[in-house]
């Protein structure tokens, strides 16, 4: 697959990063097709990173019009542009991303993400969804898994000063350097649905609390028929009630999910730009690892909370049930 050589232009532009991941990884990147949906601040950061890295193509989906809120953490859109009359978020971001790296094809796809079938997802190597409902996450992940080729699936969400990334690489083979040797490694990933179905009781005691808190908020939005991210402080009583129910079902103590954390997640719907940069950066790195097959990818969740500053990987898969 690494037949063609990099052009002189590519070698000059990508010099510093080829020194990090090698020319073969750069060639693989240049043939990769990425789909992203939900163009808020975190995804804007991710798109910038992946376009700079030199992927083959990037397809954006987000039909929503521009609002003041969507501008708050998004550097891809100039606020005083009159051009956004009639243009969607995806279209505006596309214009600006094209400019970042002329060697990457950036385009817009219209429509509702969950209405697309397997044929559509088959065109991509990586699918990243953000601000997407629980049902949609599950169904898109399933559509990707049913394809004959491996499509890496990611979800990414930021709330208040917290962020979460989920990844499903299915059966993944990669190489890594161990001392002076390059060794082959293999990882098996569960789907999003299977991962979140793992009983909480069987999870390690020191699991990031954000994992549980994010699930409660996700369930709340699903039950109330809200759009992802459409919550406010007024929802807190209902969310706390849901917390109680869920934890009882899992036979766990309420203290597992601090009320203050849930409060931040439901009230802080506006993105915090430093966290967008961090989560968008980590996600970019992971996608580059998945495409290049180089270096340990994480399995299968990542959490960051600016209040304690920890960026933690968690492995939540059904193998845990047997423990």
């Amino acid at each position: 697959m690494d037949g063609e050589e990099l052009t002189e232009q590519e070698t000059a532009l990508y010099d510093r990063q080829i020194r990090v991941w090698g020319a073969d990884a750069q060639r693989r990147l240049s043939k990769a097709h990425i789909l992203v949906s939900g163009l808020k601040g975190t995804v804007a950061e991710f798109c910038k990173n992946i376009v700079l890295a030199g992927v083959g193509s990037l397809t954006l989906i987000d039909d929503r019009p521009v609002t003041e809120e969507s501008l708050s953490a998004n550097f891809l859109i100039a606020p005083d542009e009159n051009v956004f009359s009639g243009k969607s978020l995806a279209e505006l971001c596309c214009d600006s991303l094209k400019d970042f790296n002329p060697m990457v094809r950036v385009s817009v796809e219209k429509g509702d993400l969950s209405s697309f079938g397997g044929d559509f997802y088959n065109k991509f190597d990586v699918v990243v969804v953000s601000y997407c409902s629980l049902t949609a996450k599950k169904s898109i992940n399933e559509k990707c898994r049913k394809l004959s080729k491996r499509v890496a699936f990611y979800t990414v969400d930021c709330r208040d000063s917290c962020g979460e990334i989920f990844v499903d690489l299915q059966n993944f083979t990669y190489s890594k350097k161990k001392l002076d040797e390059t060794v082959e490694c293999q990882l098996q990933y569960p789907s999003f649905e299977d991962a979140i179905a793992v009983p909480w009781k069987s999870l390690p005691k020191r699991m990031s609390k954000l994992y549980f808190a994010m699930r409660v908020v996700e369930m709340f939005e699903e039950a109330e028929g809200r759009n992802p991210g459409q919550t406010s402080i007024d929802d807190l009583p209902k969310v706390l009630k849901l917390r109680k129910e869920v934890l009882e079902k899992h036979s766990l103590n309420e203290s597992l999910i601090p009320a203050s954390l849930l409060e931040r997640l439901v009230a802080g719907t506006r993105e915090f730009p430093p966290v967008c940069a961090i989560i968008g950066g980590i996600l970019g790195q992971e996608v580059i690892k998945a495409i290049s097959g180089k270096g340990d990818p994480f399995k299968n969740f990542f959490f960051f909370d600016a209040t304690d500053g920890k960026g933690v990987m968690e492995d939540i898969s059904s193998d845990l049930i047997s423990n």
């Binding site: 532009l13 990090v20 030199g54 002329p102 020191r206 430093p274 940069a277 270096g295 920890k310």
Partner: protein
């Protein structure tokens, strides 16, 4: 999202960014999005093509323009109503003095070299301005917070000195490719194209020193009317053939080493092939000196290919020829620059030919350029992450939220699942000559070393002072400045050439010298200890400075668990890479990683912040932290060492 308190702290803040490169671009963007309204940014660099893969505020059309100014314009496009003040200047300029620094609430560093970092550290200490320091290399990065009197300063931990190699390894007994690069770059390239008057150890020292030096008198000078090919063959045969023969004649050297093979051009490359080089000239159109390339005129395309000895020899001749044909005016004034294609080609070819002679594996131009230019690996993602972390710390600093300051490490192979690892800052190192008043100790032969040696090798090179002043008691021995009287200048010039013991106010064992840099507002005392002899190889300066040490832990820490070595290995490896080459190494890009945190793993020292008043902590976040941490083990910090928990309780990674 930011709280009201945070927002008002942000809005009222005036911040200084130093560096508009890899971290700088990301940082300026994130600051602007986060609501900062008054940002000043200093960067002396202009934009280059190799910046564009990560310095996303820049486009190809900006190449050659000021980074600070273009970055400002780019950010104003999405945040038109904030104030960004760019300075296309060196942060070491005297305009940026202590008063300049004092106007800012916090200084954020995104620098690429130790020298500037130390300078900014001193000005921040002098002005009492909080400093947030950062660095990235590849996937690794770190953010640290430096507050005078509360946390350690940037220089509390001695930084690893740039790697240098013994002269004889470079001139006579190279064993690694990097030795060949240093030889090609610092000796051969400098000799042929640089300042002819500079000292140069290019010629192998033979047992019969006189004859070889005589021979070397004018061998590198192109004779009048000498044909360029003739000249090239003469140089080639001299450095790769004759010099190796001379070295071989010194039997002692090769007792335990593989003997090199002298290479003469007649054996490597038929004369017709050298001449063919010249013929390619006709198809060569570009006249712009920056685009002159031997590879291009020889039809070699891929910089990742490893050329054969013959190809390297052809590149050697072609590059030499092009220098004389296309860039003759520059000869005599050139110094190696990693962005000078022809210079990189020449150095790659010469290093490879030497490597072939010594049985060392050859390398591609791409690799050779990385080593010769000391190029730091850099990707956009790590810079973005680090910039985000800087802003988070900056907001805490603006709110004076001292209990929550953290140093954060971005790791590639994390231990304990922690990809981003926050660590409580260390308290200041009591023996740091920069932020404490601890004197240093200098061992020197006072009757042999001159004041000039002391100024150059210690005051400038080791202490990082730019405008030094040296005093012995009330007597001024040396100072620099624009407003000095002529006779004073002459006086100081004369002092420079005197040995220490013969200065007007003689320096001997037991003397205490005071050294100051007025611009940095830094002063320190140096106790002089006389010592007769120094090891030429190990102590090439002929003097040894000490007293600025890491605090040793009482319990000796040995090897930590596997997870520990993982982290430290990753970082130290990068450190090596970024220090691969001996001489001046200023890289355009982002950083060298300085393994301060990791060093403390080895020393296992206990460094903890003194208790700070609770009153400064905003209530909301305090409660939160408490609640979240409650059933962790109550310890927000962590220990790198999983294995031995008892005695090493104090061994918090940092």
């Amino acid at each position: 999202m930011a709280s009201e308190q945070q927002l008002s702290a942000i809005k009222g803040a005036k911040v200084l960014m130093v560096g508009a490169g890899g971290i700088g671009c990301e940082l300026l963007k994130t600051l602007a999005l986060s609501g900062f309204q008054d940002i000043h940014i200093i960067d002396m660099d202009t934009i280059e093509v190799s910046n564009l893969n990560r310095q996303f505020l820049f486009r190809k059309s900006h190449v050659g323009q000021s980074k600070a100014k273009v970055a400002r314009d780019a950010v104003l496009r999405f945040r038109p109503h904030i104030s960004i003040t760019p300075y296309h200047a060196n942060v070491k300029d005297s305009d940026f003095n202590v008063d300049f620094f004092k106007q800012f609430n916090v200084v954020l560093n995104g620098l690429d070299n130790l020298d500037a970092r130390r300078h900014v550290n001193r000005l921040c200490l002098a002005g009492g301005v909080p400093l947030i320091e950062s660095g990235t290399t590849g996937f690794l990065g770190q953010v640290t917070v430096h507050i005078k009197g509360k946390t350690e300063c940037y220089e509390c931990q001695p930084k690893p000195a740039p790697k240098s190699y013994p002269v004889c390894t470079i001139t006579s007994t190279p064993s690694k490719f990097v030795h060949c690069i240093v030889w090609a770059k610092d000796l051969l390239f400098a000799k042929l194209f640089g300042d002819k008057n500079q000292d140069n150890d290019l010629n192998v020292r033979s047992s019969d020193a006189t004859s070889s030096s005589e021979h070397a008198e004018d061998v590198f000078e192109r004779k009048k009317d000498e044909d360029i090919e003739q000249y090239g063959r003469r140089i080639y045969d001299h450095v790769f053939g004759y010099n190796i023969e001379v070295a071989l004649s010194n039997e002692e050297t090769w007792k335990n080493r593989a003997r090199p093979k002298p290479l003469y051009i007649r054996d490597v490359l038929p004369i017709e092939l050298i001449q063919q080089n010249g013929n390619a000239d006709k198809s060569f159109v570009a006249d712009d000196s920056s685009s002159v390339s031997a590879m291009a005129s020889l039809g070699l395309k891929n910089p990742q290919d490893i050329w054969s000895l013959r190809e390297n020899s052809r590149v050697f001749f072609e590059a030499l020829r092009l220098f004389f044909v296309k860039r003759e005016k520059e000869i005599g004034n050139l110094s190696f620059d990693k962005d000078d294609q022809l210079a990189v080609e020449f150095v790659t070819a010469a290093a490879n030919i030497r490597a072939a002679s010594f049985g060392i594996p050859l390398h591609s131009l791409f690799e050779a350029k990385g080593i010769a230019g000391n190029i730091v690996h850099a990707v956009a993602t790590t810079n973005a992450i680090i910039a985000g972390l800087i802003v988070i710390e900056a907001i805490k600093v603006l709110q004076n939220d001292a209990n929550n300051y953290r140093m954060t490490y971005c790791l590639e192979h994390p231990s304990r699942k922690m990809l981003l690892m926050p660590v409580e800052p260390f308290e200041p190192n009591k023996s740091c000559y920069v932020c404490s008043e601890t004197p240093l100790l200098l061992e020197v032969n006072t009757s042999r070393s001159k004041l000039r040696d002391f100024i150059e090798k210690i005051v400038k090179a080791k202490l990082g002072m730019s405008f030094p002043l040296v005093m012995h008691g009330p007597d001024l021995l040396y100072e620099v400045g624009d407003d000095l009287e002529e006779d004073m200048v002459a006086n100081y010039e004369a002092n420079l050439e005197k040995v220490l013991s013969e200065l007007p106010s003689p320096v001997s064992g037991g003397t205490i010298l005071t050294v100051e840099d007025l611009q940095q507002d830094l002063s320190c005392n140096i106790n002089i200890k006389h010592r007769e002899d120094f090891d030429e190889e190990k102590e090439p300066d002929g003097m040894v400075l000490s007293g600025w040490t890491k605090e040793k832990d009482k319990t000796t820490s040995t090897e930590n668990g596997a997870s520990t070595s993982n982290a430290s290995e990753a970082v130290s490896l990068e450190t090596n890479a970024s220090e691969a080459v001996s001489l001046e190494t200023k890289e355009d890009s982002d950083i060298e990683i300085v393994p301060t945190g990791i060093e403390s793993v080895d020393t296992g020292k206990k460094r903890k912040l003194p208790e700070m008043s609770d009153a400064t902590i905003p209530d909301s976040s305090k409660n939160e932290l408490h609640e979240i941490d409650d059933d962790d083990d109550g310890d927000d910090l962590f220990m790198l060492d999983d294995g031995n928990s008892d005695g090493s309780k104090k061994k918090r990674l940092q």
